[in-house]
Chain length 514, copies 2
């Protein structure tokens, strides 16, 4: 058994089932080990941003890490942006980053770079075994680190010789930090505050955004009158018919400020105080009203579910939340296709149990609103703000949940960053329907250009935000990677295409020309 | 004048003419400034690896930096791999990386990350102005740092408020380190060594690989009998008919060792001692024969041209090199297309003064050999080993050299990493002809899997090196981004398509199915 085999077997022992890969020469022994040791499904991505984004989607849905296999510092660099998004989602991921053999590093060969410097910003844990016999134990620690509450990215830098030299044996799983239990006095403090007559809002993030957590929030709301809300961008939330609905903090800072106005105390459950996504001249960064108190019910690493349950009891909440979303499918649109029409059709035909990967950006707003009352589904968003995550996120979710329909709706600008994801969807025959919202622009930047006070933009500036000239043809791009595709410019065509896509299996792309 | 305007004007004052951009909200004032200040051409890339790879191609050909405009740490991360390649090429580049406003950083907004940690591995210089009035001077220092011999990457991290707040004025260029002059005693030492009867080889890299440097090397060879050679991967070399030919060190370590065998002294001119690209079990990393002496005529930061001239004089070299490459165009192939046939046609029809961006990998070997005796041209290769550089490199070179035909030949696996480059070629109507060598595999990895001793690979391992299932269709991918394209599977078709592409202007892609 060599080091690579000991590592793969350790991952299997820990319960890792999938490895998203884009290997190079220094990872060949790991590749061979995936073959010799049963239990891990390798999934090839043709670009590392696909690999890391898919690992994020997998981890959000599976609740445990996939491994990635990346080629030295440059491969990790290509995967950086979607690791950044995954870090903001607290997704468990184990990166295996190949490195030159220990004795080869001194020579500064062309591919050598400071891998640790690229890994550090996104990693909760990082190790570089120097001996093949240390690899297995490092693998077990990597798994534990990725799973320690609230979840995070563990990066194991694997020198090639530690993969090919003899190892002793695989390692067994080691303990990791389960979510901390919140002390009863903290619960009581929040319970008392919720009864002090002040206007309260409870901001939820993490595990508590699944159905049972929302139910608890709804019960607490019923007993206390507190608003219940979530961040603009959440890693994973369950929503739609039959579930308790949260208010979502708006994206733009001034709208968020208005939204939060009047809040006298903000209760955080796995969340942080909301801040503006960007700074703008003369506008506030800190969005919580200045005279409001902040109370922390649960930190991200705490057991928010148990804390909510205890709080529900402490405030004498009813046994059930009084209000749940009623199923309300919007009417379908007709005529020229626009973002509204796309949203109506998606919400109308979305099947129960679907998983939505939402990187619709400006054009996705309608979809977002209409699906609030659609069939119950899971909703994943761009947690770190680095566009180009929606497609691989969808691919990873489809691998985690093979029996659920995955719908990815994506702005055209953002989708170009990791369009190689379509090839992986085709190869693995993933049940992902992608809707490209083709407005042929970085539409958000046209808005932002004005918002930051950059007045009277001229043609040079506007050309940098415009994706016309030439127009992208997403049907050809998809077909070029083996994914069936169709373009629609009327609502009737889109309705028909989306309905048909929902009733078949396998990857499909619809370019919605809006 | 705000900070962004002072920066753009400073770049103009320094002679920067192009900015490759992929901006976000935090860069909107820089975008607006590119509009208001004349003199810089913005070129949009739909992915940051396109932006940084194009800046590398531009810098290699122009001999001065382009600026890049990147969106915080995640945008820089997406550009990391091609910055790595540029670092290994010692290409002058100025990165402008947007950052949150100084007062906004404390809030750890979703897009916040440790930008410096991502920038450091590839940067020779890095600064973050904290005041709008410091931005212009920082810009002048960035330019100087990028131009200081031998050239490098300067990264200016630009907090959004330092871009939008008032500045005083633009800055003027500041002095940078010109190449150091090599001391005459060092020249004499090498001259004496070259006459001591030992078998010598001179390894050249950098500026000396242009025509006049090669001529000097040829003269020295004539006087001393030394071999003259270059690395496997060189940033830019002039080659073809009428020029002095160098020997190229082979890629695989054991072949390189054999190639260097018998060398008793190795003279370095801007180069380092050759090392294996990767380590392999039981094989050497250090490729210079163990008992050979290494003499340094010029370090990368030295004036290699002056040193070669002085050396030519010191060894009494003839006024002209005795041998120059004779034009020899290979016969065209017929029948089924293969890598040999592609190479023949490219070498046959390559116009004088063309610029080749070579990421042909295994399938490009024939092209590489045949073009040695083609019309005189410039040749650029993958200096840092991180695949996915050839397309953007070609785009950048075409912007630096609008009157020269650029030919990019590229393996299909590598081309997928930065295929978005095709859109930029279409938008800017760049005169780039791309030949995709479609063997539908990471062919090099099939070789490397065996070479590293990973025996009897099974179907899982092989599937990770194979790009069939589904086949990529490069004609559709190119057309999807607005680039005309054709696929060829016979030599006759390829010959005709490539000949036609050489006689027209503008972007074109040929998928060579081999």
């Amino acid at each position: 058994m060599n080091g690579a085999e000991s590592l793969v077997q350790t991952f299997v022992n820990c319960g890792v089932e999938v490895c998203f890969t884009n290997p190079g020469t220094s990872e060949m022994h790991f590749v061979a080990a995936l073959d010799r040791i049963d239990g891990i499904r390798p999934v090839l991505g043709l670009f590392e941003g696909v690999v890391t984004g898919a690992a994020d989607g997998y981890g959000r849905m599976a609740g445990k890490p996939a491994a990635t296999l990346l080629h030295l510092g440059a491969g990790l660099g290509n995967g950086f942006a979607n690791l950044h998004n995954a870090r903001r989602a607290a997704t468990p991921i184990i990166n295996v980053v190949g490195e030159h053999a220990t004795y080869h590093r001194q020579y500064d060969a062309p591919l050598a770079s400071d891998i640790a410097s690229v890994a550090r910003p996104n990693s909760v844990w990082m190790e570089t075994p120097e001996d093949a016999r240390d690899v297995a134990a490092a693998g077990a620690r990597a798994y534990a680190a990725s799973m320690s509450a609230p979840g995070g990215i563990a990066t194991l830098i694997l020198p090639a010789d530690t993969a090919w030299l003899d190892a002793d044996a695989a390692a067994n799983p080691v303990d990791f930090d389960a979510p901390h239990t919140v002390d009863g006095t903290e619960i009581d403090k929040v319970a008392a505050a919720l009864k002090n007559g002040k206007k309260s809002a409870i901001l939820l993030r993490g595990r508590v955004l699944l159905e049972d957590g929302l139910e608890l929030a709804g019960r607490i709301q019923a007993a206390t009158g507190a608003r219940i809300m979530c961040d603009t961008f959440t890693p994973r939330m369950q929503r739609g018919a039959g579930r308790v609905k949260l208010e979502r903090i708006p994206y733009f800072a001034e709208q968020a400020q208005e939204f939060l106005e009047g809040t006298e105390q903000l209760i955080l459950v796995g969340a942080k105080n909301p801040v503006a996504f960007f700074a703008y001249p003369g506008k506030e960064s800190w969005l919580t009203p200045k005279d409001a108190d902040t109370l922390i019910l649960a930190r991200p690493e705490d057991d928010g579910m148990a804390a909510l349950e205890a709080l529900a009891e402490a405030v004498g909440a009813p046994a059930q939340a009084p209000e749940h979303v009623a199923l309300a499918k919007p009417d379908l649109a007709s005529g020229d296709l626009d973002a509204d029409g796309v949203g109506r059709a998606i919400a109308h035909f979305l099947p129960e149990g679907a998983v939505m990967s939402d990187e619709g950006a400006t054009a996705g707003l309608f979809t977002n609103i209409y699906t609030e009352t659609a069939a119950p589904h899971d909703h994943m968003t761009l947690t770190g703000g680095s566009i180009g995550q929606g497609l691989p996120l969808a691919a990873g979710a489809a691998i985690a949940c093979p029996d659920r329909k995955v719908v990815c709706f994506h702005g055209d600008g953002g989708a170009m960053y990791t369009l190689q994801s379509l090839w992986t969807m085709a190869r693995e025959q993933l049940d992902v329907v992608t809707v490209i919202l083709a407005n042929r622009s970085y539409a958000i930047l046209n808005i932002e250009l004005m918002r930051v006070g950059a007045e009277n933009p001229g043609p040079k500036a506007l050309s940098m935000l415009d994706l016309h000239n030439p127009d992208l043809n997403w049907v050809k791009l998809a077909q070029g990677m083996g994914v069936e595709a169709v373009a629609c410019s009327t609502a009737e065509d889109f309705n028909k295409a989306f309905e048909a896509a929902m009733s078949r299996k396998g990857p499909f792309l619809i370019e919605a020309i809006i």
